[in-house]
C-alpha cells in the first residue's frame, strides 16, 4: 500500500521540453565539470561537502601547526602578534565552520537519505544551493589572507567592541572584520537552508515502515542537529546584522560611547555558540552509535534512551549559554542558575556513554580501524566532558576561563570527540562510497599516531591553564613554568600532524589503488549497506519496506520474505511510471555566486555592487522558481542499469 514513488512533485508529469526558453533547458551531463556544478544528487553534494571540508581541515590544521611552532619556546619570534591573532581566529573559524560542520553535512547528505530508504532529499536543488553558498562563505572568510587588510583577527567569538571600526586592525583598511561578519552570515544561510531540507527529508521521505523509532541513530542525530542549527543560527545572525550595521551604517548597538552594551553581543553569540558545540558533537555521536553496534554485532544498547538523551542534550543546550560568561560579572543568581543547568547536561551525555559500553558488553568486538577510532572517541570525549564539568563549577571556572584549560577542554571534545568520530565515519563508509577498503595496517597506524599525538598535544594544556597561562597569547615568558608543557604540546602537534598526513595519504591511495570490496564488507545493520557500492544514482532499485529497527540486519535474516516483497514493490513502482529522478539545474550555483559577489562588494563598502549582487540573486531565484522542480523517470533493466529512452533524451 505504501509503494508509492517518493517524488516531491504533485500532479502531472512535465510535458516534452523542446519549446522551453533557452535558460530553462536543463543540464543533463552525467560526467564532467558541468555535472558537478549543476548536480542535485544528494550523494554528489555530499562528496562536494566532504572534499571541500577536508581541504579546509588541512588548512585549519596547518594554521594550528604554525600556532604550535610559535608557542614551542618562550619569547618566540616566528610569528608577529598580528599574524598570530589572525591565525588562531582563522584556525577556529575554519575548523568549526569550514571543517567540522560541513564534514558532518557531508555525512548528512550522503548517508542519511540512504539510511531512511529515500531516493533523494526533499528539495534537491536547495541542497545544491546550500553547498554552493557554503563555498561562497568559505571564500569570503579566507580572502583576507590575500588582500591588504589581512585575515580576521578578532577571535572566533569576535567580542564587541574589539570588532568595532575603532579597535580592529589599525594597520590596514579595516576590512578583515567585515569579511568575518559577511562570511559567517553567508555560512549561516547555508547551514539553515541545508538543515531545513534535512528536517523535511527525515520527517517526510522515510521508506514505508521506517517509523521514527526505527530510524538509525545517525539519522536521529542529524535531525536533532538540524533543529539545533535552525534554532540557534538566528541569534548569531541578528548579532552579526547589528555588528554589520554598526560598522557600515553608523548604528551603535555595540558602540560603547553611545551606550552600546558589549555584553549583549556575548549573550547573543553564546545563545548560538553553545548549541553550536552540540551541533559539532551530535553528528559525531550518531556516527559512533552506528559503528559500535556494527563491530560488536549487537544492536545499540538502549536505543530509545540514546535518542531521547540526544534530544534532551539539544534542548538543554539552549539553556546554558552563559557558562561562557561566568567571568563577566553576571551576578550570583544568574551564575548559579547557569552553573546548575550546565551540570545537568552531564546526565544525558553520561547516559550515552553508558549505553555505548552496554553495546560492547557481551558483543563480538572486531577491532577494525573504524572501531578503533570509535573507542578512541568514547575515551577522549569522556575526558573532555569531565573537564567541561570542571568548567561548569563557576568559582573554579573563574581560574580556568580564557586559560589553556579551556583550550584543553574543547580540543578534547572537538578532536577527541568530533574529529575522531568523523575520521571513523570516513573509514567506515569509505567502502560504501568508493567500493574500496582502507588497509587495516595503515589505518591502525594512523589511528595510533593521531591518538598519541593528540594526547601529547592537549593533555599538558590542562596543566598550562591551571598554571596560569592565558589563551590567545602569541608569546609567553620563560619564567612562568610553562616551557616544558608547551614544548611537549608542540612536539605532540607535530606527531598529530604526521598522523593526519598519513591518514589522508592513505585515503588518497585507497581511492585510486585500494582493495576492492563487495557489498556490506563490515556486516552492517542499516539500510545504506543494502545497495551496491558505489551506490547508483537512484540509490534503491526498489524502495525497501522496513520491518525492524536495524532494517538491513533484518533483511539479511529474512531474505525470502524480503525478496517477495521487493518484487511486488518493483511492479507497483513500474506501474506508477518508474523511478522518479530530479533534474539538474544551474540556478543554485548562479544564486550562490550572486551572494558571493554581492557579499564581497558589501565588505568593500561598495553598496552599489552589493545591490547589484542582490538583484542577480533575485533573478536567479526567480528563474529557479520558474524552471520548476522538473524531473524524469528511470526504468531499470534486471541488472539495475537504467534503460536509456530511444531518443537519448531522458529529460524534460
Amino acid at each position: 500500500m505504501q509503494a508509492i514513488t517518493k517524488s516531491d512533485f504533485i500532479g502531472k508529469d512535465t510535458a516534452a521540453a523542446e519549446k522551453r526558453p533557452f535558460v530553462f533547458t536543463r543540464p543533463t551531463a552525467k560526467t564532467g565539470l558541468v555535472s558537478w556544478l549543476t548536480t542535485v544528487d544528494h550523494k554528489r553534494v555530499g562528496l562536494l561537502y566532504g572534499v571541500s571540508s577536508l581541504i579546509f581541515f588541512l588548512v585549519g590544521g596547518f594554521e594550528a601547526l604554525l600556532i604550535r611552532i610559535q608557542l614551542a619556546v618562550p619569547n618566540n619570534t616566528f610569528l608577529s602578534a598580528q599574524t598570530y591573532n589572525e591565525l588562531f581566529t582563522m584556525h577556529a573559524t575554519t575548523m568549526i565552520f569550514l571543517a567540522v560542520m560541513p564534514l558532518s553535512a557531508a555525512f548528512f547528505n550522503y548517508i542519511m537519505p540512504l539510511q531512511i530508504g529515500a531516493r533523494d532529499v526533499a528539495f534537491p536543488r536547495l541542497n545544491g544551493f546550500a553547498f554552493w553558498v557554503f563555498l561562497a562563505g568559505a571564500i569570503i572568510l579566507n580572502v583576507g589572507w590575500f588582500v591588504k587588510s589581512g585575515a580576521p583577527d578578532v577571535g572566533w567569538f569576535g567580542y564587541a567592541p574589539l570588532t568595532s571600526t575603532a579597535y580592529s586592525n589599525q594597520f590596514a583598511t579595516d576590512m578583515s572584520t567585515d569579511l568575518w561578519v559577511m562570511g559567517l552570515q553567508i555560512l549561516g544561510v547555508s547551514s539553515v537552508v541545508g538543515s531545513l531540507n534535512f528536517i523535511v527529508t527525515i520527517i517526510n521521505m522515510r521508506a514505508p515502515g521506517m517509523t521514527m523509532m526505527r530510524l538509525p541513530v545517525f539519522t536521529w542525530m542529524t535531525l536533532i542537529t538540524a533543529f539545533l542549527i535552525v534554532l540557534s543560527f538566528p541569534a548569531i545572525t541578528i548579532a552579526l546584522i547589528a555588528l554589520m550595521m554598526d560598522r557600515s551604517f553608523g548604528t551603535s548597538f555595540f558602540e560603547v560611547s553611545n551606550g552600546g552594551l558589549p555584553i549583549l553581543w556575548q549573550h547573543l553569540f553564546w545563545i548560538f555558540g553553545h548549541p553550536e558545540v552540540y551541533i559539532l558533537i551530535l553528528p559525531a555521536m550518531g556516527i559512533i552509535s552506528e559503528i559500535l553496534p556494527t563491530f560488536s554485532r549487537k544492536p545499540l544498547f538502549g536505543y530509545p534512551i540514546i535518542v531521547f538523551s540526544g534530544a534532551v542534550i539539544g534542548l538543554l543546550g539552549f539553556g546554558v549559554w552563559s557558562h561562557h560568561m561566568f567571568t563577566t560579572g553576571m551576578g550570583t543568581m544568574a551564575t548559579a542558575a547557569f552553573s546548575i543547568a550546565t551540570m545537568a547536561i552531564a546526565v544525558p551525555t553520561g547516559v550515552k556513554i553508558f549505553n555505548w559500553i552496554g553495546t560492547l558488553w557481551n558483543g563480538q568486538l572486531q577491532m577494525r580501524t573504524p572501531m578503533m577510532f570509535a573507542l578512541g572517541f568514547v575515551w577522549m570525549f569522556m575526558m573532555g566532558g569531565f573537564s567541561g564539568i570542571m568548567h561548569s563549577a563557576a568559582p573554579a571556572d573563574a581560574q580556568q576561563q580564557d586559560s589553556y584549560f579551556v583550550v584543553a577542554h574543547f580540543h578534547y571534545v572537538l578532536i577527541g570527540g568530533s574529529i575522531f568520530a568523523l575520521l571513523a565515519g570516513i573509514h567506515y563508509w569509505f567502502p560504501l562510497i568508493f567500493g574500496r577498503k582502507v588497509s587495516e595496517a595503515w589505518g591502525k597506524f594512523s589511528f595510533w599516531a593521531i591518538f598519541v599525538g593528540f594526547n601529547v598535544t592537549f593533555f599538558p594544556m590542562h596543566f598550562l591553564g591551571l598554571n596560569g597561562m592565558p589563551r590567545r597569547t602569541f608569546t609567553y615568558d620563560g619564567n612562568m613554568g610553562w616551557n616544558s608543557a608547551n614544548f611537549i604540546a608542540s612536539v605532540g602537534a607535530m606527531i598529530l600532524g604526521i598522523g593526519m598526513a598519513v591518514y589522508f595519504v592513505v585515503m588518497l591511495y585507497t581511492y585510486f589503488k585500494g582493495e576492492k570490496v563487495g557489498r556490506d564488507p563490515w556486516g552492517a545493520r542499516t539500510l545504506e549497506w543494502s545497495i551496491p557500492n558505489p551506490p547508483p544514482e537512484y540509490n534503491f532499485a526498489v524502495i525497501p519496506t522496513v520491518h525492524a529497527r536495524d532494517a538491513f540486519w533484518y533483511e539479511k535474516n529474512h531474505r525470502d520474505e524480503i525478496e517477495r516483497e521487493k518484487a511486488k514493490s518493483a511492479a507497483e513502482e513500474e506501474s506508477h511510471g518508474g523511478i522518479h529522478m530530479p533534474s539538474q539545474s544551474w540556478f543554485p550555483l548562479l544564486a550562490a555566486m550572486a551572494l558571493l559577489t554581492g557579499g564581497l562588494f558589501f565588505t568593500n563598502h561598495n553598496f552599489m555592487g552589493a545591490i547589484a549582487g542582490g538583484v542577480v540573486l533575485f533573478i536567479a531565484v526567480y528563474l529557479w522558481a520558474w524552471e520548476g522542480p522538473g524531473g524524469y523517470h528511470l526504468h531499470l533493466d534486471k541488472d539495475g542499469n537504467p534503460i536509456e529512452p530511444k531518443d537519448g533524451q531522458a529529460h524534460h
Partner: protein
C-alpha cells in the same frame, strides 16, 4: 478558468507521497517559521534590553511615535491576513478568480502597510530627528521594525510573483504567447506601479500636514506619476486578461498556502511588535 474543474479532488490535508501526509513545502515553511521565531526573538530582545537601560540622551519614545498611524497600519496588516486566508481558502476549492482577487487585495494592503512604514520612518527622521545613528533607540527601533518591513516587502514580492504565476497558460510550451517574456513584462509593470504608488501615497501623507496643502495642487503636482500609475494599472489589467485555460489551480494550493503561512507569520510578528515596541511606552 481552472484546469481542475472538480473541486475537492485533491485532499489538502493529506499528501500521500510523504511519510507524514504533510506536504513537504508546508513542513518546510513551519520549520522555517520556528527558526524565524528565534530570529525575531533575538531582535526584540535587543530592543527591549536597550529600553530597560536607555543611555543618556535617549529620546522619549512617546515624543517620537504617532500611535494613530501605527494603529492604522496594524489594522491594515490584520486585514491583509484575512484576505490571505481567503485566498488560500479559494484556491483550495479551485476558485482561481477569487484567489487572484484576494491575492491582489493582500498585495494592496501589504503595500499600504509598507507605505505607512516608509512614511513613518521618514517622518521620524525629518520631523522627530530620530535616525539610525542618533541614538540607540533609533538603532534598535529601525532595525527591528525595518527587518519586519523587509519581511513584509519580501512577502509582497512573493505575492506578486504568485499573482503573475496564476496567469500561466495551460499550454505554455506550445502556445504562441511568449509567456516567459510576458511574465517579466508583467513584473516590470508591477514594479513601476508599486514604486509610483508608494511614492504618491507617502508624499500625500507627508504633505497633508503642510498648512498650504490642497488636494488639487497635490494632484496637479503629481500628474505625471498619477498618469504613470493609471497606465501601469491598465497594463496590469491588460496583461492579466483572461486568455483561456491557465496552468494554475487546486494543485497549486500548497504553494499559495506556504506563502500564506509566511504572510500570517509576518502578521503575528507585528502582533507582538506593536504592543512591545509601541503600546508599552504609553503605560
Amino acid at each position: 478558468m481552472s484546469s481542475h474543474s472538480a473541486s475537492g479532488a485533491i485532499d489538502h490535508h493529506h499528501d500521500a507521497t510523504t511519510s507524514t501526509g504533510i506536504p513537504n513545502k508546508k513542513l518546510f515553511m513551519w520549520t522555517f517559521l520556528a527558526s524565524d521565531c528565534m530570529f525575531f526573538g533575538a531582535l526584540i530582545s535587543m530592543h527591549v534590553v536597550y529600553r530597560i537601560h536607555p543611555p543618556a540622551g535617549s529620546p522619549d519614545p512617546r515624543s517620537v511615535f504617532s500611535i494613530e498611524l501605527t494603529s492604522f497600519s496594524t489594522f491594515i496588516l490584520l486585514m491583509s491576513s484575512l484576505l490571505m486566508a481567503l485566498a488560500v481558502n479559494a484556491i483550495q476549492k479551485g476558485n482561481v478568480r477569487s484567489t487572484r482577487n484576494n491575492l491582489l487585495g493582500t498585495i494592496f494592503f501589504g503595500l499600504i502597510f509598507l507605505a505607512c512604514q516608509v512614511y513613518e520612518f521618514q517622518h521620524f527622521v525629518h520631523d522627530r530627528g530620530l535616525t539610525l545613528s542618533s541614538s540607540l533607540f533609533g538603532s534598535t527601533f529601525y532595525t527591528l521594525t525595518g527587518t519586519h518591513g523587509c519581511h513584509v516587502a519580501i512577502g509582497v514580492l512573493w505575492l506578486i510573483l504568485m499573482y503573475i504565476r496564476s496567469f500561466k497558460p495551460a499550454d505554455a510550451e506550445q502556445s504562441s504567447q511568449p509567456w516567459f517574456i510576458m511574465s517579466i513584462v508583467h513584473l516590470l509593470v508591477f514594479a513601476v506601479a508599486v514604486i509610483l504608488g508608494v511614492y504618491v501615497v507617502v508624499d500625500f501623507a507627508h504633505q497633508m500636514h503642510v498648512p498650504t496643502f490642497s488636494v488639487g495642487s497635490f494632484l496637479s503636482g503629481h500628474l505625471l506619476s498619477l498618469i504613470g500609475l493609471a497606465a501601469s494599472i491598465g497594463g496590469l489589467m491588460f496583461l492579466g486578461r483572461s486568455r483561456g485555460q491557465v496552468d494554475f489551480g487546486e494543485r497549486n494550493a500548497i504553494d499559495v498556502e506556504s506563502m500564506g503561512l509566511y504572510w500570517h507569520f509576518v502578521d503575528i510578528v507585528w502582533i507582538i511588535i506593536f504592543p512591545v515596541v509601541y503600546l508599552l511606552e504609553y503605560i
